[in-house]
């Protein structure tokens, strides 16, 4: 049969759906948006979820801790330097862990001193029964006492110099609050002769200068300490109702010094409460959750404020880098060719400058705060990475059909760049800038650790400085480096896991591969 035989006249054709509206059929399923898809994939990754929670906790720690604890970074008390971490709960329960105690192995002289403090203040200093062990040291048998020492109560009593009015106010405080703060002063003539014990207020008992110019205790016939309190000679104007063990005015409670000053012997724990009562800053008895550093600063607040500073710096740097890098990278990637080549050479050079050189030059050239220098240095060396990422993404997408369509429809360059291509690149960019945060924190920590950047002014400190200080006391007071190390390790670990999860989440090609 020939083709002409099949010729059908035009009239026979009728539009089948005349009068009906034509449209695509609606999807039965719900559309899954890019972000919902990514979120779903992210939540299936358990490690990332755990990491996200840990980051959340560290974040809360950094931002809430400074609000809830009464301490400030500027608060320091040298008498409580190096005290150990103390968790009030553990302390009350009597758990021999995290209770402000530390295992000690000391010579008899130190052990006696602690015993004296315990006896005078009536608070537990020696927390466990001491075990005596004999050891040979330089040809002599020396006995060591191993026990758990309460590092807070071991502070005992201290001499403080007060003005007369302050002395009277302290006495009034005693009467009002019914606590004994002022302890009887020791007789200056009977104080230990050894040079380094002369100013030790805790020696309230009779001693003599023993062999090797060491202070040796003289006991009475019952083996008890013999007090050397200064008998009342009428010079001391002590009017408080609070008396030492019921002795009404048997002793002097202060000795006059030059210039209307009085040397007062105070129970330091109560006195600490008193000075903070005067300052009205909400601090009562000393108790440092993470212990105290060599200056007697609360490490909890130091770490929290260091962490807060790191977080704030890192987030600012990450967002500025993201912004500048995204704009620069979009222009590079979108226009390509000569523009790209030139801009890329500039980035190449900038990206090869070591951070150390930038910091050094900035530090010596501009006499501004180190915080600002850090920010500028991280910005100068950091945004190039973000630009490179954006550029890659733009290269990936700029030749795809949807861009061609948009251009055919008459979209301007800026519209294509930021409305069409950029949303496709945003997943990678978000992942990138989240991973900038731990890098910035790590670099900042390293730089302050190395002492190139010094962020420790009165009211600010940084994790790196805490680590560097802790390093010097690693063997003697390991708690000083323990908590900052835990913080930085947890932070790095959780950001790594979180970043991995985020990277997988924003990678649509992984869709459905997990099952």
């Amino acid at each position: 049969m020939r083709a002409e035989d099949y010729k059908i006249s035009n009239e026979k054709f009728v539009l089948r759906q005349t009068g009906q509206q034509l449209h695509d059929e609606k999807f039965e399923t719900k559309p899954v948006s890019y972000f919902r898809d990514a979120f779903g994939r992210f939540t299936r990754n358990k490690a990332s979820i755990a990491a996200a929670y840990i980051i959340g906790i560290l974040f809360l720690f950094a931002f809430i801790a400074p609000i809830v604890t009464p301490y400030k970074v500027s608060d320091e008390d040298a008498n409580y330097a190096y005290v150990f971490p103390k968790n009030e709960l553990f302390y009350k329960l009597g758990v021999p862990f995290w209770d402000g105690g530390r295992k000690m192995g000391v010579t008899e002289a130190s052990y006696t001193l602690y015993r004296g403090i315990q006896e005078e203040t009536g608070r537990t200093v020696i927390m466990t029964e001491p075990e005596v062990r004999e050891e040979e040291y330089m040809g002599k048998q020396i006995s060591y006492y191993d026990f758990r020492l309460d590092s807070y109560n071991a502070v005992g009593v201290k001499f403080v110099l007060l003005k007369y009015e302050e002395y009277v106010a302290l006495q009034q405080y005693q009467d009002e609050n019914n606590v004994q703060v002022i302890f009887p002063i020791t007789d200056p003539a009977l104080r230990p002769e050894a040079e380094h014990d002369k100013t030790n207020a805790n020696i309230w008992y009779r001693t003599k200068l023993g062999a090797g110019r060491k202070t040796t205790v003289i006991y009475d016939e019952n083996g008890r300490f013999i007090p050397i309190y200064l008998a009342d000679d009428g010079r001391d104007e002590y009017t408080s109702r609070m008396y030492w063990e019921g002795d009404t005015k048997l002793y002097n409670y202060a000795e006059p010094k030059d210039g209307n000053m009085w040397n007062v012997r105070v129970d330091y724990r109560e006195y600490y409460k008193y000075i903070h009562y005067l300052a009205d800053d909400g601090i009562e008895y000393p108790s440092f959750l993470f212990g105290a550093n060599n200056a007697g600063k609360d490490l909890f607040i130091c770490l929290a404020s260091g962490a807060r500073f790191s977080f704030v710096l890192a987030i600012i740097v990450a967002s500025v880098n993201l912004f500048v890098g995204a704009v620069y990278g979009s222009i590079e990637g979108y226009y390509g060719g000569k523009i790209d080549l030139m801009m890329e050479r500039f980035v190449d050079i900038l990206a090869s400058i070591p951070l150390m050189i930038v910091i050094t030059l900035l530090k010596y050239h501009f006499n501004v705060s180190h915080i600002f220098i850090l920010f500028i240095a991280f910005f100068l060396t950091g945004w190039t990475g973000m630009a490179a990422r954006t550029r890659m993404q733009f290269y990936r997408f700029k030749n795809q059909e949807f861009v061609l369509v948009a251009r055919t429809l008459g979209a301007k360059d800026s519209r294509i760049m930021f409305k069409h291509i950029f949303p496709n690149a945003i997943g990678t960019l978000i992942t990138g800038s989240v991973l900038v945060i731990p890098n910035v924190i790590f670099s900042e920590t390293s730089l302050s650790y190395l002492g190139i950047i010094n962020l420790s002014t009165g009211s600010l400190t940084s994790v790196g400085t805490l680590l560097a200080t802790g390093q010097n006391f690693l063997f003697t007071y390991p708690h000083m480096i323990l908590f900052p190390s835990i913080f930085i390790s947890l932070l790095m670990l959780s950001f790594n896991l979180f970043g991995n999860g985020l990277r997988d989440a924003f990678n649509p090609s992984l869709r459905g591969t997990e099952e």
Binding site: D348, I349, S352, I353, P354, M356, I357, T360, L361, Y364, H365, F442, T445, S446, Y449, L450, G451, I452, L467, G470, Q471, L474, F475, P478, I481, S485, I488, S489, M492, L493, F495, N496, L497
Partner: protein
């Protein structure tokens, strides 16, 4: 090969615009396809080295100018005979000159200083002298640098030698046991070790190994210690010299071990993760199936086929690691008090000693750039499928 010489000439002519190239040679003169690729690569390498040198020069010169723009701080030099000697040295090096009008020593113009600095480096190998750091005052920067180099390099080499095989072995093991408990265990440990910063390991190593168990010494032994321990080698010790032989003995090695461990943990984890990722990907390849079908055992297929392919991206990073052994780690050097280049660099930053700072900055910059370049180039050398510089 008989035609090796003419072919080489053609490459050079091609590259450097020799007249021969103006009359393009016959196509067959270039020889096989491999030769074309080699020539192409050679050109690419030259280009990359050129670019690297340009980058280096720009940064170095900018750095020099910016450093020299700082007000010269000669106050720390002090006064007296030593100070006069230092000033004389600086004058002879062209940093300062005597100004008759103000009767003071003033700085010479920066560009003049730069010109003389570069000429000194290239013609005399003289990087200047130290004048702000009391211990190195008046000493040649280069000799101090050479003296500090061995501990830095050795610790890095030891840690690389430990890290690379261990890491790769762990990675292979994890990949072969994919999704079994061994793999999960290794992957978890690797994740922890990658994340935790080196100074945390260093503290742990110091506290546990060196302090609690006293298994290893606390710091790196100094050369006088070594001479004391091995008096028969005493004649080798010349203060302020290279002193290589004294670094190879048991005492020095043991004292370096804590630092080596601290440095290698992160590296081991890095290689283990990288190897596992690459190898698991390669193991699923179709050529592996083919290898098994043609009768190879699993281990034969893994070693001969999978591992070789997996090494393509890993090998460049090993090479990169061995280039950057020169630079070391500032933090590890500080913690273990290693008398190395890092400590010197920190000291030069803190006391702003121009010559030391310039030389060491240049050194670190060059090592960094070189390591990056070597890594990039070795990709193409190892895997001929990768055409370098291709768009």
């Amino acid at each position: 090969m008989g035609f090796a010489i003419p072919r080489f000439r053609i490459y050079f002519a091609y590259l450097f615009g020799h007249p021969t190239y103006l009359n393009p040679p016959r196509k067959e003169a270039f020889g096989s396809r491999a030769c074309v690729i080699i020539m192409y690569m050679f050109k690419y390498i030259c280009k990359r080295i050129g670019l690297m040198l340009v980058t280096f020069t720009i940064i170095f010169v900018t750095c020099f100018v910016l450093v020299k723009l700082l007000p010269a701080d000669t106050s720390s030099v002090g006064i007296g005979e030593d100070a006069n000697k230092i000033i004389a040295q600086m004058v002879s090096r062209g940093y300062m000159k005597y100004d008759d009008a103000s009767r003071k020593y003033i700085n010479t113009p920066i560009l003049e200083q730069l010109a003389r600095y570069l000429r000194r480096i290239f013609l005399e190998g003289d990087f200047g002298i130290g004048f702000n750091m009391p211990e190195y005052r008046g000493r040649s920067v280069w000799s101090v640098f050479i003296e500090k180099l061995p501990p830095t390099i050795l610790i890095n080499i030891y840690s690389s030698l430990l890290a690379v095989p261990t890491g790769i072995a762990l990675g292979i093991f994890a990949a072969l046991k994919k999704n079994k408990w061994q793999d999960h265990l290794i992957s978890t440990i690797v994740m922890v070790f990658i994340s935790v910063p080196a100074f945390v390991y260093a503290s742990l190593v110091l506290y546990i190994i060196c302090f609690k168990f006293s298994a290893l010494p606390l710091g790196v032994a100094s050369l006088p210690d070594i001479v004391q321990a091995y008096p028969e080698n005493g004649f080798l010790y010349v203060p302020g010299e290279f002193n290589w032989p004294l670094y190879f003995n048991k005492k020095m090695f043991l004292s370096m071990l804590p630092a080596v461990f601290s440095m290698s943990f992160g590296s081991i984890a890095h290689y283990a993760r990288y190897t596992r990722a690459e190898l698991t990907e390669v193991l699923t390849g179709e050529f592996m199936l083919l290898a098994r079908t043609k009768g190879l055992t699993k281990s034969q297929a893994t070693v001969r086929h999978a591992l070789r392919n997996a090494m393509v991206p890993i090998f460049p990073s090993i090479i990169g690691e061995f280039v950057s052994v020169l630079s070391g780690s500032l933090i590890i050097e500080r913690i273990f008090q290693i008398p190395g280049v890092g400590g010197l660099y920190l000291a030069s930053i803190n006391s702003m000693d121009y010559d030391f700072f310039m030389m060491l900055s240049g050194f670190y910059l060059l090592v960094g750039l070189l390591a990056g370049l070597v890594v990039d180039l070795s990709y193409g050398v190892i895997d001929p499928r990768i055409r370098m510089g291709a768009k």
